[in-house]
């Protein structure tokens, strides 16, 4: 159900995005920064699920709040003639890499454990066969 909803939602979203009018290039920076914030919070959510301290409220507020905040900051940057969005990008990308590292390690450990188990199983089987011989 959960995955079906996510897939359905993404398809629907893409369709809606295609139907909507094109936004001017000058404003596309806001959207890109927002997307980055959203991606960061999604990866953060996955990492927190692995760490077992996931909180839905924190996730949702982070997803939309961070995006809106970064957009506001970029607007401020354009007014002050400073590329503040660069700072946001650095922070978000750094966090994304951290979270990705956490996820990677978790899965590596999982696979390694499985591999170990399989190895032990086969070695025990081999021993039994050797004894029979």
């Amino acid at each position: 159900m959960f995955y079906i909803l996510i897939i359905l939602g993404s398809i629907l979203g893409v369709m809606i995005g295609r139907a909507l009018p094109v936004i001017p290039y000058t404003y596309s920076i806001y959207l890109s920064v927002g997307i980055l914030a959203a991606l960061d919070s999604i990866f953060g959510a996955i990492a927190s699920i692995i760490k077992k301290r996931f909180d839905f409220k924190v996730f949702i507020t982070g997803l939309f709040g961070n995006a809106i905040l970064t957009m506001l900051l970029t607007y401020l940057g354009t007014k002050l003639n400073i590329d503040i969005h660069l700072g946001a990008i650095i922070v978000f990308v750094g966090r994304m890499f951290n979270n990705l590292a956490i996820i990677r390690r978790h899965y590596i450990e999982l696979w390694y454990e499985r591999y170990d188990r399989v190895k032990k199983h086969y070695s025990s089987l081999n021993e039994i066969q050797n004894r029979r011989k």
């Binding site: 939602g9 993404s10 995005g17 001017p24 290039y25 959207l31």
Partner: protein, 424 residues
């Protein structure tokens, strides 16, 4: 039974009258006694019969009692008679001395005694009968009552048992209902909790669904916006390409400087030629070729861009857009330009007529507008793509523009002639 009694009485009465009319009294009396005995026997038998039959009607008792009353009445009448006679002033002695009177008195005494005996006997009989009847009746009543009581008791017991059973059933059903209610209440409570859990889960799922839609839509919009221009090119251009452009401009300046030198040399040559009048025709021919190319009287081929401006749903292409583009291209170093294969020359007009119709070289043009440009392709592209440049502006206002870089573009010559009538 009653008839027999009556008969007995009747006999007695007949005999009484006989006694009074006829004599000797003693015999009569004896006979009466005998009769009495027989009556006694009769009564005994009858009583026995009564005992045997064990049923005595109340009627017989009533008849007997009524007869008894008659007897008592007779007695009273006689007493009253005697009293009356006394009150009349009968001489008792004279009266008593009369033989007839004595007879009468004797008889009456006898009768009285007899009557009294009969009365007693009857009384006894009546009492016997009544007592027996009483006993019988009482026994019967008792039996009946007992039976009745027993029956009623049994009935009562049965009804009580039945009622108890019914009550039990009712109570059981009530209990079951109560238990059911309790169970249903528990179920409802559990269901409520479940519903709350499900609703919470559904809410989370819904929020996730909506957020995924939003994120996907935003990404799609961004991709669409970027798909019009290769964003990487512009990003790269920002630093490196601009530098190269500057250097290119510097080189161009150098070229221009060299060109100035060449033209200066040419002027000197002309000056010399005019002095010597040699090979001027050759020089003029070369100049003519160049001017023809510049004026647009020849087909031109070379590297450059093909831009297409298209009307889309939101915005339409204005003549001002085309004019602006042409100007930008001239600035960027275009050598030849054509709009829908109409060569742009010095007298070219680009205007709108009737608000919508775009006219180029006084000819009506319709979209998509294909604008061919010959020139340094890098320079042309750079000039258009630059941040806040022409293409950027067009996209910002929602107009659609695209371009292709080509190595070989052919631009046709100017189809009509530039005429000079007034000027010299």
């Amino acid at each position: 039974m009653s008839k027999k009694n009556q008969n007995i009485n009747g006999k007695n009465q007949n005999k009484k009258h006989n006694n009074i009319k006829n004599s000797p009294l003693k015999e009569y009396a004896n006979s009466f006694f005998k009769d009495n005995k027989s009556i006694k026997n009769d009564t005994k038998r009858e009583n026995k019969k009564l005992d045997k039959k064990e049923i005595q009607s109340n009627l017989s008792i009533k008849d007997l009692s009524s007869k008894m009353d008659k007897l008592t009445l007779n007695k009273k009448i006689q007493e009253r008679k005697s009293e009356y006679l006394k009150s009349l002033g009968y001489d008792k002695k004279a009266y008593t001395e009369n033989s007839e009177y004595t007879e009468y008195t004797n008889n009456s005494n006898l009768i009285n005694t007899f009557k009294f005996d009969e009365y007693e006997i009857n009384k006894n009989a009546i009492t016997n009968i009544s007592s027996k009847n009483k006993k019988v009746v009482i026994n019967k009543v008792k039996n009946v009552n007992e039976n009745l009581i027993n029956g009623i008791y049994k009935l009562n017991v049965d009804t009580v048992l039945k009622l108890n059973q019914i009550n039990k059933k009712k109570v059981d059903s009530n209990l079951e209902e109560k238990l059911k209610n309790i169970k249903s209440f528990k179920e409802i409570k559990g269901n409520k909790e479940l519903i709350e859990k499900i609703s919470q889960k559904n809410l989370i799922l819904l929020i996730i669904f909506i957020s995924t839609i939003i994120v996907a839509a935003v990404i799609a919009i961004q991709m669409k916006a970027i798909s019009f221009i290769d964003i990487k090119k512009i990003e790269a251009m920002r630093d490196a390409e601009l530098k190269t452009e500057i250097t290119a401009l510097k080189e161009k300046n150098k070229e221009l400087d060299s060109r100035i030198l060449e033209i200066d040399n040419n002027i000197e040559k002309y000056k010399l030629n005019t002095k010597e009048n040699k090979s001027t025709s050759e020089l003029i021919e070369n100049e003519l070729l160049l001017t023809n190319i510049n004026a647009g009287y020849t087909n031109v081929t070379g590297e450059g861009l093909i831009l297409t401006l298209e009307d889309n749903e939101a915005q339409e292409i204005d003549s001002a857009d085309i004019l602006n583009l042409v100007n930008q291209l001239w600035i960027a170093g275009a050598e030849a330009i054509s709009i829908n294969d109409e060569r742009v020359v010095s007298s070219t007009d680009i205007t709108t007529v009737d608000q919508n119709k775009v006219f180029v070289n006084s000819k009506h043009q319709t979209g998509p507008y294909k604008i061919k440009v010959i020139g340094n392709k890098k320079q042309l592209e750079g000039a258009l793509i630059i941040k806040n440049g022409y293409i950027n502006e067009m996209l910002a206002t929602g107009k659609s523009i695209s371009y292709i870089i080509e190595e070989n573009i052919e631009i046709p010559k100017y189809k009509s002639e530039i005429e000079m009538k007034i000027g010299n």
